[in-house]
Amino acid sequence: MANTYTLISSVTVGSGGSASIEFTSIPATYTDLLVKLSGRSSRSAATMEEFVLTFNNNTSSYSERQLRGDGSSVISQTFSGASIQQLGQPGAGATANTFGNWEFYIPNYAGSNYKSISLDGVTENNATQAYTNFEAGLWSNTAAITSIKLSAGSYLAVQYSTAYLYGISNA
């Protein structure tokens, strides 16, 4: 039986935290990519901080459309710029030991079309300012994705944050 769902690489942030989590030299041998992220930010006194996502160390031509629920209302917003920028994670002011939970699905990542991404994430922390997020991301670039970088903005991804990159094949 073909193995269509393969772990390419994983990262667990160590003591002291890390400014970013990065996957490099991603082979083009799969059909789709899937990233599963469990993260928390070091941002002091904040209940949430946004991680940002870039491909191939490129910082242009990103846009996203978001649907976000906070427990009392739902909003929809758009963003554009140097990254996909609304990957909310609990900050240092959030309930201790709570981590955000995100999944990114990138179909046809090695093709020559613009890259359309599905992102789902939650930041529940048994308190206010917890979010459920659905997002549609777009990188308007025809290059194959060969690296993925998750940055913690001006802060750090704390110890025990994890990210797993899977390749999915239709062969």
Binding site: A2, Y5, R65, Q66, L67, P107, I117, A136, A171
Partner: protein, 163 residues
Amino acid sequence: MASTYEKIATNTLGSAAATVTFSTISGAYTDLVFIIAAGNSTTASDQIRAQFNSDTGSNYSFTQIVGNGSTATSGRSSNSTAMRFGFCSNNTETNAIIQIQNYSNTTTYKSSLARINNPNVNLYAVVNLWRNTSAITNISLFMESGGNFNSGSTFTLYGIKAA
């Protein structure tokens, strides 16, 4: 390593097509995952609809939440003749991830959870229900207003095994 995620079938369109069908789906899996990366070759906007087992009766319902970048809405439809799998435009590729749990049992009605993204237009989360206890052996996709999926659109059906 046990392989629990297996491709059942894939279809990359060599030319625009009004309908895409996966038939003779094996009952050997626990769940199905359907991945779509598609554009619309004919109209500016259209809804992707779907039917199971060629059932064209009013046996479907759905509830959706939609964001277009400025407003969030929710809607539903009962006694529909097809499921809704979101929005497909001719200006940006739509990606969709559709999960169909326990698709081969012959006791319960079948539900699916779909996440559909068109980054330039809107995003959907939709739950669909098919009021039929038959095992799903056929999935047919088409555009609500008669549009075509464009050439190069890809459709892949995966089976998930519990063991």
